[in-house]
Each structure stands twice: as structure tokens, then as C-alpha cells.
């Protein structure tokens, strides 16, 4: 019994090492930026970082489901954008916004926008699980479809008005805390609870860990993957609506950066692209690494044209560390 439990403890330690590596990266980045810039390690800047990563956090929560299934969703940014534009399309716009839109009551506009993201997710799910298109290709097509829907609805214009509820949640505050940060935390929390404590969450890990074995255990693998893709799309829809309020406008290509940021947040946090390993705690660390990196580089005095390159190199370094940490496994 003692040998079994000590072997368990050892494999637990090695198992958590791959979760520790991203955490070490995060602490290292914070220390470096705090050392290099006095304005970085302040309470108000912490608030900035939280606000800056909120939209990414909502997108990455949904994407975590997909990546844990060993699939990918490249349409996250496009679905967020299309949903945000759809919300504006169903809201009464000022006279100078020259689009032929369909204003609805605010609550209905929100439902219509969410329905848009849901349907796009369903199309992804049908393409991947029923027709059998690899998710990489299917969601690549959806990336274009999402962009296309957005373009058709907004016609090159910029729309400003969104329903009041969304305006509050996207740009308002509650007791000094931005609503968008609260929502992001809630989405992360719910995702974590679903992944860790529900049957569906267990199936997600099992399907990602060994799809064939899940199938031979009587798990409806296609249904699980479909659900993951739809969850991802709806999270993107929520992020897209709040994002429009957060940015103060709805327009084309508004969310383009969130494709890479969303994937990077999940993967840098240590969730395996091959599925079955990782989770929301990893995604949170990945979000913080990304947020600290994006924010910190603005606080130190370097050539702004160099920043993108530095960001890329630091992300690469983080990924390399993760890959080595993930190779460490308990001895068989």
C-alpha cells in the first residue's frame, strides 16, 4: 500500500510538472517586467491586464473543450466577429450608420446574435462529425464564412449601438470591477466545473485521450466532439457581443488577433494539442502569460517594431519549455 501511494505521489509530482512549467514562465515574465518598468507591477496595471485578457479568456474557455478533444477550431475569431456584427445589425443604429438593418427589441437582438453563433457551431459540428471533414479544414472554411456573414451584414460600415444590457456588461463596472472581467471569470469557472465534475467533461478527456477506446466503451464520440465545437462557437459569440461593447463599435476584421491569442492561451498553458491533457487552470495560466507579455512589452522602452518579434520569440520559448515538460512522464 505504501509503495502504491508513494508511486502515486511520484507520478502526481511528475504529472504536475508539466503544469508547473507554464507557471514558472509566468512568474519569470512578471519578475522581468517588474524589474524593467516601475509602472508594470501596480494595482491599476493589474486591472488593465485583467480587462485586456477578458475577451480572449471567454474565447479560450470554449476552445479548451475543442483542443482537449484533439480537434481544433480556427473559426473562433470569425464567429466572434460575425456575432458582434449580427448584434449590431439587430440593434437600432444612429442615422449616420448607413446600413439596411433590422432593429429588434434588445433582448431579442441578443438572442438572435447568440443563435447566429450557435448555428455556425452546429455547421462546424456537422461538417466535422457527420461529413467527416478534418476540423482544421472545416473551421478554416468557417473562418471565411464567418467573415463573409459579417461583411454582408455590415457592408464596410462601422456600427456603434448595441443593446443596453450588452453595453453594460461589455463596458460597465460593478463595484469598481469591470463587468467583462466578472463574466470572463464566470465563463472560466463554469467551463472548469463542467470539464472536471460532469460526465460530459470526463467524456471530453476520454475522447481526446484515446478516441477509439472511448468509442469501444460505448461513448458517442461524434456527439461529444459536436458539443465541444458548439460550445466553442457560443463562447465566441458571447465574446463577440461583449467585445463590440468593449471596443465601442462593430466592424469587419475587428477580432482577427483573437484567433492566434485564443489558441496561444490554451496551448501555452500546457493543454496538449493531441488532446486529453490540460484544462481550464492551464488556460488561465496561458491567458496570464499572454496578457503579461502583451501588456509588459508596452511598459518597457524598446523599439515598437521589435515588439512583435520579441513576443513571437517568447511564445516560442514558452512552447519549447512546455514540450520538454510534457515529455517527462511517470516511469511505466
Amino acid at each position: 500500500m505504501t509503495t502504491a501511494s508513494s508511486a502515486g505521489a511520484k507520478s502526481w509530482m511528475i504529472g504536475s510538472l508539466r503544469n508547473v512549467a507554464p507557471l514558472v514562465t509566468l512568474i519569470f515574465l512578471i519578475a522581468v517586467f517588474a524589474f524593467m518598468s516601475p509602472s508594470f507591477a501596480t494595482m491599476s496595471n493589474f486591472g488593465n491586464i485583467m480587462r485586456q485578457i477578458s475577451i480572449t479568456a471567454i474565447i479560450a474557455s470554449g476552445l479548451t473543450f475543442v483542443i482537449l478533444c484533439a480537434e481544433i477550431d480556427l473559426s473562433i475569431a470569425a464567429i466572434a466577429n460575425a456575432t458582434g456584427i449580427a448584434l449590431a445589425f439587430f440593434t437600432l443604429q444612429p442615422d449616420y450608420v448607413n446600413i439596411d438593418n433590422v432593429p429588434l427589441w434588445g433582448g431579442l437582438a441578443i438572442v438572435m446574435a447568440l443563435l447566429t453563433s450557435f448555428l455556425l457551431g452546429v455547421v462546424n459540428a456537422i461538417g466535422v462529425t457527420r461529413i467527416g471533414i478534418p476540423s482544421f479544414i472545416m473551421t478554416l472554411a468557417m473562418m471565411q464564412i464567418g467573415a463573409g456573414i459579417g461583411a454582408l451584414l455590415i457592408r464596410g460600415q462601422i456600427a456603434y449601438a448595441v443593446p443596453d444590457l450588452i453595453k453594460t456588461l461589455g463596458s460597465g463596472q460593478i463595484m469598481g470591477v469591470p463587468w467583462i472581467v466578472v463574466i470572463a471569470c464566470l465563463v472560466l469557472l463554469i467551463s472548469h466545473l463542467v470539464l472536471t465534475y460532469t460526465r460530459f467533461g470526463r467524456y471530453i478527456y476520454m475522447v481526446g485521450g484515446n478516441r477509439e477506446a472511448a468509442e469501444y466503451s460505448g461513448v458517442d464520440v461524434k456527439l461529444v466532439i459536436s458539443a465541444a465545437l458548439v460550445i466553442s462557437a457560443v463562447c465566441c459569440g458571447l465574446a463577440g457581443m461583449l467585445g463590440v461593447a468593449y471596443f465601442g463599435s462593430a466592424q469587419q476584421n475587428e477580432f482577427d488577433d483573437y484567433l492566434l491569442d485564443g489558441i496561444a492561451a490554451v496551448v501555452v498553458g500546457g493543454t496538449s494539442l493531441f488532446g486529453g491533457r490540460g484544462g481550464i487552470p492551464n488556460t488561465i495560466i496561458g491567458l496570464l502569460v499572454l496578457g503579461v507579455l502583451n501588456n509588459g512589452l508596452d511598459h518597457i522602452d524598446i523599439d515598437s517594431f521589435l515588439k512583435v518579434l520579441i513576443r513571437g520569440l517568447i511564445l516560442l520559448a514558452a512552447l519549447i519549455i512546455n514540450v520538454y515538460a510534457q515529455r517527462l512522464r511517470a516511469p511505466d
Binding site: 470526463r202 485521450g209 469501444y216 460505448g218 456527439l223 486529453g276 516511469p331 511505466d332
Partner: protein
């Protein structure tokens, strides 16, 4: 023409072409070949027979340069050789046609004949005209009139095999190893293959013919060598022996070896009068098996025996909803079922343990999660209760004798036999109506095999209807109360309420 009715006293007339002396090969600690001497003559078709794991495939992989790490000597044309790779062996004139064809179905016939050797013109441009012309000639020499521009995958499997043979010959092989060449062929295709082999033999080419199909072996081979447990038992001229002679040597009658418990006959019980749990009628999956019918009652264990590739693996998958039948019906407890997926089959009370542990288990997950995955729906509502799962798994781990008996251990850290027990354990909490097992004891040591037999027999006593699919006669005989034999996708024999022995199974398959 060759006269097959010659009474050859000595095997084949040609000079010795390939001589092996004292070949020894180990996989880990297991001795796969224990000092084998083997000679292949020029212009000879030499058949190798033996049960799975007897060593014949290992020996052929050594000859074909696939296994390079072995003990002993190999002499080709009087010169000692040691191949470094399959390419190296092919360069010296030894080629192999695998059971699973190594062709590119999306390329043309000509491209396949020239695979890896395409004739090129200036700037490395492929000379299509020459390639098509030469492959047509090459195929004509095998007596085949094929359009070399056809896509290979559009040809029937027998012709694809001959195209691969043409490729191996075209690469300059004088010795060709054929691994189970007839297993996927229809009788006319077999005749055509044999005609080609005879023609090539008369040109002085030599063949090693590995097969489970003893009728085919006796029809084409000049000499036959029997392997058992990594040793060469005996070589004889094919004309001087018959099927019984071969089977006796394959299973070692008269030798009192410890593990051969089932060489004697066992008595199958009378079929119970209970109503059938599972009824299968006219079930077919194109390209795998045709017109399979049987019924199964509570407390019965149906053994399905057949050689590798006879369609039994696909049959098991069809019963669990992984493959969709093209025809026929499946009834569980009298009501017809159409499974859209494995979840449907599991909901109908069918459980499945596939032949490969890898496709059943989650190596990164703890043992308890491996055991509860199939029953989560029944033990939990919305929220998981890990403590309950661990308790359930802990009980099974103890009952099954899994070591270490720790439901929290990572599955990947367990030995193979213990993993197999976990795979079985996942269906034990909520007993299924029908349990389908494919090769339940493959690769297990004797102790673990006994554990599995004990568990399965226990399930049967609790009223589970069980199907055991296996290519190992011992596995079938150690559990079954009724036996079906499959050959090339069809049911060819049923044993019930009678005494049967291993050689009955081998002779029927």
C-alpha cells in the same frame, strides 16, 4: 507444363539457393526462433506452416531484411550474407509480398509496378510511355492482360496482389516470400495465382509460401516445413504427406508439453433451452464477411474460430455498432436493432472488448477512470462522484487480481496482462446482456489466461451471453460451449453437443 503428379522423393530438384543455419531470434526475453536450419532450393515453392507465433513470420522477416538483429548464419548463392534493411535484401534478390498489400491504390498499375524505380528522362521527368510499355510487358509475362494506366485500387484484390508480385519480381527478386497470399482470394483467383507461380517456378524463381490454408499449401508447394514454438519440426516433400500429417506436427501430438492442455478433446454441452438473447441473421459487411447467422442464449459462450483475416474481427465490430451491416439483422432479446454507433449498441446491452488493449484503454488516466468510463451513465447523474467510482473500481481490481491493486494507479504503468483485466473489468459493474470479446487472452501468460477464463466462466454463470472470437484454438476450446468456424468471411462449420479437439478446429477452418 509442370507435372504436379511427379512423385518427388527429395524436395525439388534445383541446387540450394538460400541456406540458413542456427537462426536464433529473441524479442525481449522471449525466444521466437531457437536455432533454425532451413534450405530453399532454386525453382522450388516451399511452404511454411505453423500456428500463430510458431516463428515462421519471424524467420521470413529475417530473410527479407526486416529483422536485422539475429543469431546464426545466412548463406545466399554460397556466400554468407547479412542484410541491413529490406532494401538491401531486395537488392540481393529477395522480395516479400505482405498479407496486407504494400501498394498505392491511388496510383496507376504502372506506377505501382515501378514504385520507387520510375524510369526518368531528362531533368528527372518520369518517362510515362516507357513505364506503361514495360509494365504491360512485365504483367504479360505473368499472363495478365491489364491496362497499366488503370488506377490500382479499382482492381479486385487478387489482381492487386499480382501487381505487387510483379513489382517485387521487376525489382529483380529471385526469391519471393508470399505471406498468406490466398487468404483474401476467391477460388478462381487462387487458381490464377497458382498458374502464375508455376510459370515463374519453371523460370527458376523460388518462393516461400506462408499459409494457414493447408489445402492451398498441398496444392502448390513442392516441400512443406512445419514450425512449432520457434522450432523447425520437420520438412517433407508435399507429395508424400497429407493434411493430417501437417496438423499432427503443428500441434505436437505425442509430445507431452506443459501448455498443450487442449490437444485432447473437450465435450461441448447440449444447447440450453433458454430463449435466445442475441439473434443474428444473414449478417454481411461487404469485403469482410457474408451471410452470418447464429443465435445465442443466456449462459452460453459461443466461440468463433478462424484464421487471421477471415472476417471475424469485423463481425465482432458489427455486433457492437462500429461497422454497419450491408445486409442482415441483429436482434437483442427478440427486438430488431439497428445500431447507428457504439453508444447505441452499449445502450442495447452489448459490451465489447477489442483484441488490442491500446484501442480499449486510456494510458494517461488512472485505473478507476478506465473502469468506469463505460458505466458513468448508470452510476452518475449530472455530477461525477469520483469517490464512488474509486470504490467500485477498487472492488473489481481486487476481484480481478489486478496488480498493483490500486484504482488510482496510472493505467500505463500496469503490465499488459493487468491492463487486459482492467479492459474486461469495465463491463463488470453493470452486467451486459451480451459480451463480445476479441482475442481475450492474446499475449497473456498462463496465469493471466486462467484468470480470464475464470472471470468469463463466472459471467456466464450469471447469465451473460458471451461471444469469444479468436484465432487461437486453445482460447476457443478453453471457454466455449458452442463453436462456429469461419473461413474467408463465411461460416463453414458449427460444433455443438459433441466432443471436439484442436485438430477438428484446424481441419474445419
Amino acid at each position: 507444363m509442370i507435372e504436379p503428379s511427379d512423385p518427388p522423393a527429395a524436395p525439388a530438384a534445383g541446387r540450394p539457393l538460400l541456406e540458413l543455419e542456427g537462426i536464433e531470434k529473441r524479442f525481449g526475453g522471449v525466444l521466437a526462433l531457437a536455432g533454425v536450419d532451413f534450405t530453399l532450393h532454386e525453382g522450388e515453392i516451399h511452404a511454411l506452416v505453423g500456428e500463430n507465433g510458431a516463428g515462421k513470420s519471424t524467420l521470413m522477416k529475417i530473410i527479407a531484411g526486416v529483422h536485422t538483429d539475429y543469431g546464426g548464419r545466412m548463406v545466399l548463392d554460397g556466400r554468407q550474407v547479412r542484410f541491413r534493411s529490406a532494401r538491401d535484401a531486395l537488392d540481393r534478390g529477395i522480395g516479400m509480398v505482405h498479407q496486407e498489400l504494400c501498394t498505392a491504390p491511388d496510383l496507376t498499375v504502372a506506377e505501382n509496378v515501378f514504385l520507387g524505380n520510375q524510369p526518368t528522362g531528362r531533368f528527372g521527368r518520369i518517362d510515362w510511355r516507357r513505364m506503361n510499355r514495360e509494365s504491360r510487358e512485365q504483367l504479360a509475362r505473368l499472363g495478365l492482360d491489364l491496362d497499366p494506366r488503370m488506377r490500382l485500387g479499382d482492381l479486385p484484390i487478387g489482381l492487386q496482389q499480382l501487381v505487387e508480385l510483379a513489382r517485387v519480381l521487376f525489382s529483380g527478386a529471385r526469391i519471393v516470400i508470399l505471406d498468406e497470399p490466398t487468404s483474401a482470394l476467391s477460388p478462381p483467383e487462387i487458381e490464377r495465382l497458382f498458374a502464375v507461380l508455376k510459370r515463374l517456378k519453371s523460370e527458376g524463381r523460388s518462393f516461400v509460401f506462408i499459409s494457414h490454408f493447408l489445402d492451398d499449401v498441398l496444392a502448390i508447394a513442392d516441400s512443406v516445413t512445419v514450425f512449432r514454438n520457434g522450432e523447425l519440426v520437420e520438412t517433407a516433400a508435399a507429395a508424400s504427406i497429407d493434411k493430417t500429417w501437417i496438423i499432427e506436427r503443428m500441434i505436437g501430438r505425442g509430445h507431452h508439453e506443459l501448455e498443450e492442455t487442449y490437444t485432447g478433446s473437450i465435450r461441448l454441452p447440449r444447447a440450453p433451452s433458454a430463449p435466445p438473447v442475441l439473434q443474428v441473421e444473414g449478417l454481411s459487411v461487404a469485403g469482410a464477411f457474408q451471410d452470418v447467422s447464429f443465435s445465442l442464449a443466456e449462459g452460453e459462450i459461443l466461440g468463433i474460430y478462424g484464421f487471421m483475416g477471415c472476417g471475424q474481427l469485423e463481425l465482432a465490430r458489427t455486433l457492437f455498432g462500429k461497422l454497419r451491416p450491408d445486409a442482415g439483422s441483429i436482434k437483442v432479446d427478440g427486438s430488431a436493432r439497428r445500431f447507428r454507433n457504439t453508444a447505441d449498441a452499449a445502450a442495447a446491452g452489448i459490451a465489447f472488448v477489442p483484441e488490442s488493449r491500446r484501442s480499449m484503454l486510456f494510458g494517461e488516466q488512472p485505473v478507476y477512470r478506465n473502469m468506469t468510463i463505460a458505466i458513468l451513465e448508470k452510476i452518475d447523474r449530472l455530477w461525477l462522484r469520483p469517490r464512488r467510482e474509486i470504490e467500485i473500481a477498487g472492488r473489481h481490481v481486487t476481484d480481478l487480481g489486478v496488480r498493483p491493486a490500486d484504482p488510482l494507479a496510472r493505467l500505463g504503468a500496469l503490465s499488459g496482462g493487468n491492463q487486459q483485466k482492467v479492459a474486461l473489468g469495465k463491463w463488470l459493474t453493470e452486467l451486459p446482456r451480451v459480451l463480445v470479446m476479441s482475442e481475450p487472452t492474446r499475449g497473456m501468460d498462463v496465469g493471466a489466461k486462467e484468470d480470464v477464463v475464470r472471470i468469463v466462466t463466472g459471467l456466464r454463470e450469471k447469465g451473460v451471453a458471451i461471444i469469444v472470437v479468436s484465432t487461437e484454438p486453445e482460447t476457443v476450446l478453453s471457454m466455449a460451449t458452442r463453436v462456429l468456424v469461419m473461413r474467408k468471411g463465411r461460416m463453414v462449420h458449427r460444433f455443438a453437443d459433441e466432443a471436439i479437439a484442436k485438430d477438428d478446429l484446424l481441419a474445419a477452418a
